[in-house]
Symmetry: C2
Subunit: 440 residues, 2 copies
């Protein structure tokens, strides 16, 4: 049984917050709380009060009024000592002060609201244990898909359903890069540099472009959707660095867009979690999630298919989600961390990516000479992989030209065997580029 919540909804005493981290999201959260204080009080049945804040630099102008709010220099000290009901962790980072702050807050019997996807994806189960033991709550709506209330939709709005599949565009940086490549025909490196100049990508972009951020979010969605312990290590991850402008153009000709998707689905081998670029039908809903928007599709047994789309990041959308969690705590509406008490999480098996069955797009860079197609076809036949189409783009004897194939639904392991052999053909001068085709 869930232990009795410490926060009683009919109390008229303010809910007291300590906010750790006053960067973009922290300042946005304070502005939102101050701007809509009256509405928040009306909707929660009690006021929400910022009773402590913590950041390194006291002098910076953050565009919000911090006057009269007790200031701490150390978030862990604040989490331990401030007289508050809830600690809001907006520091970021998987370990270090963010994790320490959350652990100390929970141990001290304070609920925690965080926007920290890495922390929840990697240490979520331990933190949920700590919250349960202390009889408090850990909430993280802001960790996934910013302004879209996707955690609440899975945990409450669609909670009566069995989920079959949940997938989506979860990283605005990758989606901005792929959308811009699509719209301009420019290459990955060029568009990434521009995104860095515009502040849409970090100076070290690997968290985003290598798919890790998407995988953090997917691991969290999977836990809530399927009622399983969050398990980042079970996510197969591939980023978008090797997507060439050519692939975007060929995909377009074939009727597809390229999106980085996080996908979790029930298979006969267990729940499979994977992050990789996908060809998705141009006229489908997920193809139209463009730029910095996020979109999540939920397929379930009774409600059918739903899609939620909105801004995935930024001060406003993230603050909206942080404050929604705070309001649930204030109103006494908070749920168990992953939707059910820990002992009710199911330990069903995870399916490895090798068991995936699906269609693929493959691009080869091939020296244009007779006999190469025959070698490729033999490799596919021997691996029992069925080709749907093959097309050499351009004809220039002796030069390197792209060859694009689409493969019928095939087991991942077989496709990998065929591609390994194709990659070893002399005339194939680059490792084959495989992108999965998802019928979404």
């Amino acid at each position: 049984m869930v232990s009795s919540p410490r926060i009683v909804p009919d109390s008229s005493a303010p809910l007291r917050l300590a906010i750790a981290g006053l960067g973009t999201v922290g300042a946005g959260t304070i502005r939102l709380l101050q701007e809509h204080g009256e509405q928040i009080t009306a909707r929660c049945g009690r006021p929400v009060e910022i009773a402590a804040v913590c950041a390194r630099d006291r002098t910076r102008d953050r565009g919000c009024d911090l006057s009269g709010i007790p200031w701490f220099d150390d978030p862990v000290t604040m989490a331990r000592e401030a007289s508050v009901d809830v600690v809001v962790e907006l520091i970021g980072g998987t370990d270090g002060p963010a994790r320490d702050t959350v652990e100390v807050a929970l141990a001290a019997g304070r609920s925690v609201v965080t926007a920290n996807k890495a922390l929840v994806a990697l240490h979520g189960l331990d933190l949920a244990h700590a919250a349960e033991q202390a009889g408090v709550h850990l909430a993280y709506e802001a960790a996934v898909a910013g302004g879209i209330p996707i955690i609440k939709a899975l945990r409450e709005g669609l909670a009566a359903n069995g989920v079959r599949r949940v997938f989506g565009v979860l990283n605005g940086t990758c989606n901005y890069i792929l959308t811009t490549m699509q719209e301009t025909g420019r290459g990955f490196d060029d568009v990434l540099s521009e995104a860095q100049r515009l502040g849409y990508a970090e100076s070290d972009p690997s968290f985003d472009v290598d798919g890790i951020d998407t995988a953090h979010k997917l691991a969290i969605l999977t836990s809530v959707a399927f009622g399983r312990p969050v398990d980042f290590s079970a996510v197969s991850i591939e980023g978008i660095r090797r997507i060439d402008a050519m692939d975007i153009a060929f995909a377009d000709q074939l009727g597809y867009r390229i999106k980085l998707l996080g996908i979790a689905e029930e298979t006969e081998h267990g729940v499979m979690q994977r992050v990789h670029p996908c060809l998705v039908p141009k006229d489908g809903a997920i193809a139209s999630v463009d730029g910095v928007y996020n979109g999540v599709v939920i397929e379930c047994d009774h409600a059918g298919r739903s899609m939620l789309e909105g801004r995935g990041a930024g001060a406003g959308p993230t603050a909206s989600a942080v404050v929604a969690d705070i309001m649930d705590l204030a109103a006494g509406r908070a749920a168990p961390t992953f939707g059910v008490p820990i002992k009710r999480l199911t330990h069903s098996p995870s399916a490895p990516i090798e068991t995936l069955v699906g269609a693929c797009y493959v691009r080869l860079m091939v020296v244009d000479k007779p006999g190469v197609f025959a070698e490729i076809a033999a490799a596919l036949r021997d691996a029992q992989v069925s080709m749907e189409s093959i097309l050499q783009r351009g004809h220039d004897p002796g030069e390197t030209v792209p060859v694009v194939m689409t493969l019928h639904a095939t087991v991942e392991a077989a496709a990998m065997r065929a591609l390994a052999r194709i990659g070893s053909i002399d005339a194939v001068v680059e490792p084959p580029c495989l992108i999965r085709i998802e019928d979404v």
Copy 2:
């Protein structure tokens, strides 16, 4: 202050339900509760038990197991006498037994879950009063947009925001008819007859095609989004009967689709609620909400723009929403009826449709002869309405031909004056057909 909820979340006693109405949705609700009983218990922290049912015909096979469940012949008696915590009203209808059942249940101190949009749109404020006085809850997620958790998204997920506009495709019957007209080029009457044969439209279709059902849902959305008393009488309503196959074709040529939208927005004159057919950009998200799907867009100050799309009706999606409400009650998570206690609802003014400012598409049926354009142009000039384009489709002297105009953003009242005069021109042989252009 909200009175203390009667249902305590840490209780392990079952939440006891009485279900009134065993039609498609009632039977679907029972099937869902029975199929996912274990998951529902895990997520609520307590079991949900069907402790009474009521319908007229005891003998019908409803595809669900009713054995051992106490049966009532009269829903009002059940609402008064059954030993239950929650009455689920799935009878339907604005007055009569549905309303009586809900009133008696609330008066007897039982919470109510309903899928009845007409009841909530017309009597929601009185019922919310009754619920507050009894210290119980009235929940109606299933009343709007079926499987999409839109009430929860507005009331909780985006609750920290100020909403600027909320709009959407809210009626599957109209959307099916318009989508089919678009795809096949067929006329309204023809497609309506087919929809009736297929069971997508009622034998008396006026509730759907005249926009009333959409207006019920919009009135509810408006109340939750803007924190105002639900006010169906303030909704300006126009249906889709006069949309001609020609209009769909002309709209397509101009880059638009035609959708029946419900729109609520803040204007300088107050909150305006309107239901009418709209030209929407083909490549926008709302244009791609096709067939029996519903889609709702929320524009708010911090989270920006979000869209939720999913199945709007049917046993599964509606049951999903009904059971989500039941689970919130079981878990002690229920909120005030319209998001805030009644005394915190704001009584801001409602803006009449005459103050609407927007662009329009206008189709005239005109006898093809010299001088007609000049008369039309003069009427527009005198009403100070600015034309963007005018195009006569076809040239056939002496015969009736369509003339299509688009008007720049103009005050509704001025457009109406201009159209009244244009309609009185001899050569204009039918009342002008005006369809608003929405930049959504």
